[in-house]
Amino acid sequence: MTRNSKFLSISSLFGFIFLYAPILSLIIYSFNKSKLVTVWGGWSVKWYAELFNNQQIIDAAIVSLKVAFITATLSVILGVLAGYVLSRMGKFPGKLIVSGWISAPLIMPEVITGLSLLLLFVSLENLIGWPAGRGITTIIIAHTTFCMAYVAVIVQSRLSQMDDSLEEAAMDLGAKPHSLFFLITLPIISPAIISGWLLAFTMSLDDLVIASFVSGPGNSTLPMVIFSKIRLGVSPEVNALATIMILIVAIGVVAAMWQMRKKETTL
């Protein structure tokens, strides 16, 4: 048994090193003074200064944040509805299709989703004149389609963990369906809503492939700008940007998990 668990801990240790070593090296090299990305020239924050002077990156970041914010909000609305429908609405015609396909956008290769949505937008524009051209709106629609699936899955699993006795009690006491939803169900699933919103936000902020297909000229998102920069090789500015993004996410996730654990223990 001890030999067994030793094997497990050593291979897990290597697994975690594998997961974190590249990220750590990226963070360290973002403070490198030298322009040659791999030669260590001492500590410096000059790449951070250059990053904040790069108007192209700042513009793209603003586009991305805008898209991510609206996407996350829309995804939560649609995803909560879908998750609720699937776990609390019993049987209805077409349930199998919805339940089987709600998670399909999660695993669909992004090139297929991106291409198919672009072709839909182009055909719709020819047919009914909407959406006129491509830009922020089309990116938001595309992102919402795959992000709502994440929210739906999270909400559904949260709802299936909670038994419906609270909801039943409220119904017995005469609560109307909509007040039941807003007064009982929504508070129950609020942790799932928060993590769903955050996940949708990060997924939207991160997407390169789908946005490349459905965005129009002049609406480059942050990943699109990053991709065009790093295609040619490692860039110290991107290291600095990556460090900032990774640290924000790390702090956010750790804080959210801690908060949720606290909530769950008090519940």
């Binding site: 590249p22 879908a82 609405m89 695993i107 389609t145 419906d164 492939v209 490692v234």
Partner: protein, 317 residues
């Protein structure tokens, strides 16, 4: 709903009138709640596939948008001309380039999935064997990279694997090699990239099944004299099959169509179908050909996607 409505009805058996009016209200509310997400999915997820299929049968043209119409309305003779071009599909089979790309994508995805399982299984087992804070901490460590930018994580490997990157420096430092080896822009780097980015997708479903695994079965097997290896292959492995299947499919399906990883880490001749589709669309601006490539990719993935759906129905998340 049946259970909930049942209680609801019992609580309201006093007047028939209220019964009917609330029934109607529920029905209406129910259908609107069901139909909003369903319609969104239908419009922005199903119909686009039909559009892709339709355009894969069109001819590439120098126009906006760059393809020909399938239907042409001939006013004088009141004839609808339907034009369907099968050439794109024929070309997929004629030119071995496409066939090679499909085969090599499936191969790369399958091999990477295998290695993801090999690395992910002990990690998932290890996490499942822990309890309390340690377990939460390890799970957070697995999930954390999943929240950080996928693009930037792939990018991190570029700096790591470069000719004068850290891995080469390290290997030279300990005297294992004299010359830096070419690791970036090879198939090897693509395998690493896929295993690395999809590892959380493997660990989480594995962890979910391993956590539920009945420890008494393993003990019983050991009491009856089976060694650890035999116990593993006869008890642990078969019982964690649903998690293994789900994890492998969650890695394999998106990996087949991967674009970013081969584009950043692969060689210029690393053939993957996601990259072919991208080039067909963005470089050649041949939208019908890109659509045909996408349709074929979808056909290849239908079987694994169905497997994943069936697994879910049997209660595996």
């Amino acid at each position: 709903m049946s259970k909930v409505t049942g209680t609801f009805w019992l609580g309201r058996y006093d007047t028939v009138k209220t019964r009917f009016s609330s029934l109607k209200k529920i029905r209406w509310g129910r259908y609107s709640v069901i139909s909003i997400p369903s319609l969104w999915l239908a419009l922005f997820f199903f119909i686009p596939f039909l559009v892709v299929f339709k355009i894969s049968l069109a001819e590439s043209a120098i126009a906006v948008p760059p393809y020909t119409d399938m239907f042409a309305w001939n006013v004088e003779d009141a004839i609808i001309d339907v034009k369907i071009k099968l050439g794109n599909y024929l070309y997929l089979f004629e030119d071995s380039f496409y066939l090679d790309a499909y085969l090599s994508s499936v191969k790369i995805a399958a091999v990477s999935t295998f290695f993801t399982l090999l690395i992910g299984f002990p990690m998932a087992y290890f996490i499942a064997s822990k309890t309390g804070t340690m377990r939460t901490l390890l799970l957070t460590l697995v999930i954390l990279p999943f929240w950080t930018s996928f693009l930037l994580r792939v990018y991190a490997w570029m700096g790591f694997l470069k000719k004068n990157g850290i891995v080469n420096e390290f290997l030279q430092g300990i005297g294992l090699i004299d010359q830096p080896i070419q690791m970036l822009q090879t198939d090897f780097a693509v395998y690493i990239g896929i295993v690395y980015t999809y590892l959380p997708f493997m660990i989480l479903p594995l962890y979910t099944t391993l956590e539920k695994l009945d420890g008494s079965l393993i003990e019983a097997s050991k009491d009856l004299g089976a060694g650890p290896i035999r116990t593993f292959f006869l008890i642990t492995l078969p019982m964690s099959m649903p998690g293994i299947l789900a994890g492998c499919l969650l890695v394999f399906i998106p990996a087949v169509g991967e674009f970013v990883i081969p584009a950043l880490l692969g060689a210029s001749d690393t053939l993957m179908i996601g990259r072919v589709l991208w080039d067909e669309f963005f470089q050649n601006r041949d939208w019908p050909m890109a659509s045909a490539v996408a349709t074929m990719m979808l056909l290849i993935l239908v079987v694994p996607i169905m497997f994943l759906r069936n697994g879910k129905k049997e209660g595996v998340e």
